[in-house]
């Protein structure tokens, strides 16, 4: 199947191809210097229980396995690291793990087929030994420790621990020193065959790329792969917040805060989820953005600084809305947020402001199409991983109405769904 998907609005188009191995392929031609490729698997830190192909066995894996696997995938049986292989083609490669997916990426300014072949071969040829797993445990333990020194990271992680009781969102993406110590080569091979099967994966190439050239490389590497169904079985999460408040003390110059709103209203339809994602983005910009009364009042009162930000995540696995920043008085920020949220949950959405914010959001969305990296990463990790489509999202942003927001507001802003995490300076610094 090879389908050309066009957006007249954006004056862009991409090819969508379903390879016989099950791999979902997107080729997005773009006349820029850099060509960017991303290969993602729907295996992130929240996926710590799974079942294969209608079988009855549920497999539980230690926290941090997806991230650990990511670290190990660039090691090869021939002793040559994948980075070394990329060094020969000049591609700049990287990998990252999020809550929902693991991505392997490279950017290049030439030799695309060669680099693409390296990427695919590396992702589909696991090589784990007792020795290389043990060595990685040391490296990742360092990474985990470094995260423990980052107050912003800690503040956000503590917020997730407030919002969630059972979900693996509570755990750092890298896991803990204890959990990764339980990882073995066998376990990694099992996870690889479950989650790194092409049917669970997406490839996108954006830039000077031709669909035939890309599919030819895929055919070479994946001709003998059989599609396999893997079902992630995340823990059932109750709708209520686990605890409303967390506090830590760290070496910071000023208190940091993260306010969160837990949302359990998640539609099974990808189109509905995209629409709600857009509505939540719009609410963030309309009610908590720089052109809004809330931001300006708190800014003038010296309660927040330009570091203040408001954003949300909405997908099939979880949904939350968050405000973060630094403040001398996080409690007052929380009070201001609570009363503002209560007021906007009930009031009609101001039509003119809505229209202005919608237009601004749409314009910023258009700007994303100036970068092959932004296009490829967003197309895959924001949309395809969750069953969505980047052009459809553009259409949604064009046609969103105030009524759409009015339907979401009352269910989103319920006081019992609020929580806050604060990182305060150490006593000696006060």
């Amino acid at each position: 199947m090879n389908e050309l998907v066009k957006s007249e609005l954006l004056r862009e188009a991409y090819y969508r191809i379903r390879h016989e191995s099950g791999l979902e392929i997107y080729v997005f031609p773009k006349d820029l210097a850099v060509t960017y490729a991303i290969l993602a698997t729907r295996f992130g830190s929240v996926d710590n229980r799974y079942r294969i192909d209608g079988g009855s066995d549920t497999v539980e894996i230690p926290d941090g396995t997806a991230h650990f696997l990511e670290h190990k995938m660039f090691e090869n049986e021939d002793g040559e690291d994948t980075f070394q292989k990329f060094a020969r083609t000049g591609a700049d490669a990287n990998a990252f793990t999020s809550f929902r997916s693991t991505s392997y990426v490279f950017s290049c300014t030439g030799k695309l087929p060669e680099s693409l072949e390296i990427l695919l071969r590396s992702a589909f040829s696991p090589y784990f030994t007792d020795m290389n797993v043990k060595k990685e445990q040391g490296i990742i333990a360092q990474e985990i420790r470094m995260g423990e020194d980052d107050p912003n990271d800690i503040c956000f992680r503590e917020l997730l621990c407030c919002l969630y009781e059972k979900s693996s969102l509570r755990i750092d993406i890298a896991g803990s020193v204890e959990s990764i110590s339980r990882i073995t080569p066998r376990l990694l091979y099992d996870c690889h065959s479950a989650f790194y099967n092409p049917r669970n994966m997406i490839l996108c190439v954006c830039g000077r790329a031709d669909p035939d050239e890309v599919t030819e490389v895929v055919r070479r590497v994946l001709s003998d792969r059989k599609p396999l169904e893997v079902v992630s079985l995340p823990a059932q999460e109750p709708p209520a917040v686990f605890r409303p408040r967390a506090e830590r003390r760290m070496k910071v110059s000023k208190p940091l805060f993260c306010i969160g709103v837990k949302d359990s209203d998640i539609s099974p339809s990808p189109a509905e989820r995209m629409k709600k994602t857009a509505v939540m983005q719009l609410i963030a910009s309309l009610y908590f953005g720089k052109s809004g009364e809330f931001y300006n009042r708190l800014y003038s009162d010296g309660l927040i600084s330009p570091s203040f930000s408001c954003w949300s995540q909405h997908n099939s696995a979880f949904s939350f809305f968050t405000l973060s920043g630094d403040s001398d008085d996080p409690d007052r920020v929380f009070e201001a947020f609570s009363s503002h949220a209560a007021a906007i949950a009930r009031a009609p959405v101001p039509r003119e402001d809505f229209e202005r914010c919608r237009r601004s959001l749409y314009s910023r969305f258009v700007k994303l199409f100036d970068s092959t990296e932004d296009i490829a990463v967003s197309l895959v990790t924001d949309f395809a991983v969750d069953g969505g489509d980047i052009f459809a999202y553009g259409e949604i942003l064009r046609s969103l109405t105030a009524e759409d927001a009015e339907r979401v507001l009352p269910t989103l802003f319920r006081p019992e769904a609020f929580a806050m995490s604060v990182v305060r300076p150490l006593p000696t610094d006060q």
Partner: protein, 435 residues
């Protein structure tokens, strides 16, 4: 990509890079001044204060709403340093008219920036003291918050130690005390100086009507009675220390080790391509020596990379390590540099460095902000070569030339930031000393 540099007036330049592959244009306005204890904090504070409001759009609400109407444009305050020079101003990426229902968003945004300079929110000719005080508080918080990112903090401390006693040791936002002294009247005077007698560099990258843009920029940025800007200077200091050691402590779990080198290679030096290739061989790619050998093979650190300050001819290798590995990590890093000096660079390493540098330089052509920094930053100290012309020079560098560049490195300062085994600061005086 054709570039044009147009003299609009005394010390006012418009730099044009034309291309039509983007949906947005890139605009920036930079004022250039030498770093100074008296003015650096004020100059850093000017752009954020000016983006708070103008006569016509007196507060952030009305200003942001206007920008929303200009197709979601944003005007960002900016501040940077190159050598002993501070650059402050604004950047924006307005949507091209083809994607904005034919509206000339670029021209409108340029007008808005100009109005921030010519008619900012003022009371009796003086900039708003409310805005000044509120932005000052935020800037002081930012200065204090420098301690939050430990890796960046250690790198900056090492850099300050390398340039002790020079203008470039002045922090980009000034010190907390310097910032605290800035008042609205003083800021008003700084704005006047900036408009009348600082060098102004405008950049426009993208697709536009050159004649119209040039006329508009001249009208908006060349004040009658402008004076010739004072020349910008960057002090040069050769080697001063022989591997002096400075250790500081903080309640952290991962220690930071920074090795500060003098490179002996200034921007106009013919050896610049060789020196650039040296840094590439050391840490330009994941197959580079520091990453591959110190991090991957010896597992001595989580990160390890070299960063250069070209106008000051310094290089810092910074790493995050276990405190217990300090000596081994230091030896390993120095060992890699010595290997380069002996010419022990494999064909593969050389090829990988060339590939990676080619990739990153070509990629700049997709990134208008990177192109602007390239031309503006390099143009301050020597004739800025086009990135692809410089790439050609890089790719013709030989192993021997890289070895010679490595031989010129001399270790000046070793900075070590270690944990004190607690979650508390060891003493508040230490903190004062650090700052």
């Amino acid at each position: 990509m054709p570039t044009e540099r147009i003299v609009l007036g005394d010390g006012v330049y418009l730099n044009l890079l034309r291309c039509d592959k983007f949906k947005t244009n890139y605009l920036s306005v930079d004022f250039l001044a030498n770093l100074s204890p008296e003015r650096t904090a004020a100059y850093a504070l000017l752009p954020p204060v000016l983006t708070r409001g103008t006569e016509r759009f007196p507060d952030m609400i009305s200003l942001t709403r206007e920008l929303d109407m200009l197709y979601g444009s944003r005007i960002y305050p900016s501040v940077a340093a190159a050598g002993d020079v501070q650059l402050f101003g604004f950047t924006s990426s307005p949507l091209r008219s083809e994607y904005a229902d034919g509206t000339d968003v670029t021209g409108e945004v340029l007008r808005l920036i100009a109005s921030m300079l010519s008619s900012p929110r003022s009371v009796d000719g003086c900039l708003s003291s409310a805005y000044t005080e509120s932005e000052k508080k935020i800037m002081i918080d930012r200065i204090r918050a420098r301690i939050n990112d430990k890796a960046a903090y250690a790198l900056r401390r090492c850099s300050e130690l390398l340039s002790e006693g020079e203008l470039s040791a002045i922090p980009l936002l000034g010190t907390e005390e310097q910032a605290a002294r800035v008042t609205a009247p003083f800021l008003t005077e700084c704005l006047k100086t900036a408009r009348e007698s600082l060098r102004i560099e405008l950049y426009a990258i993208g697709s536009f009507d050159i004649g119209r843009l040039t006329a508009l920029a001249r009208e908006l940025f060349v004040l009658p009675g402008r004076r010739t800007p004072a020349p910008l200077v960057t002090e040069r200091n050769p080697r001063r220390h022989h591997a002096r050691r400075i250790t500081e402590t903080q309640p952290i779990t991962q220690a930071k080790l920074c090795l500060g080198y003098r490179t002996g290679c200034y921007p106009e030096d013919e050896a610049l391509p060789a020196y650039s290739m040296l840094t590439e061989v050391l840490s330009g790619s994941p197959t580079s020596k520091l990453f591959m050998n110190v991090r991957e093979k010896k597992s001595l650190c989580y990160y390890c990379h070299a960063s250069s300050n070209l106008p000051k001819a310094t290089m810092i290798v910074s790493s995050g390590i276990d405190a217990a590995d300090r000596e081994r990590a230091e030896e390993a890093i120095i060992g890699e540099i010595e290997a380069c000096a002996r010419g022990e660079i494999t064909d593969e390493e050389l090829e990988a460095a060339g590939n990676s540098v080619a990739n990153s330089i070509r990629a700049m052509y997709d990134d208008p902000a990177a192109l602007k920094s390239w031309y503006l930053g390099r143009g301050l100290f020597s004739r800025a070569m086009d990135p692809d012309a410089f790439l050609e020079k890089l790719l013709s560098v030989t192993r021997d030339q890289i070895a010679e560049a490595a031989q010129r490195l001399s270790l000046d300062t070793v900075y070590f930031l270690e944990g004190n085994g607690t979650t508390e600061e060891n003493s508040s005086e230490e903190e004062d000393h650090l700052e």
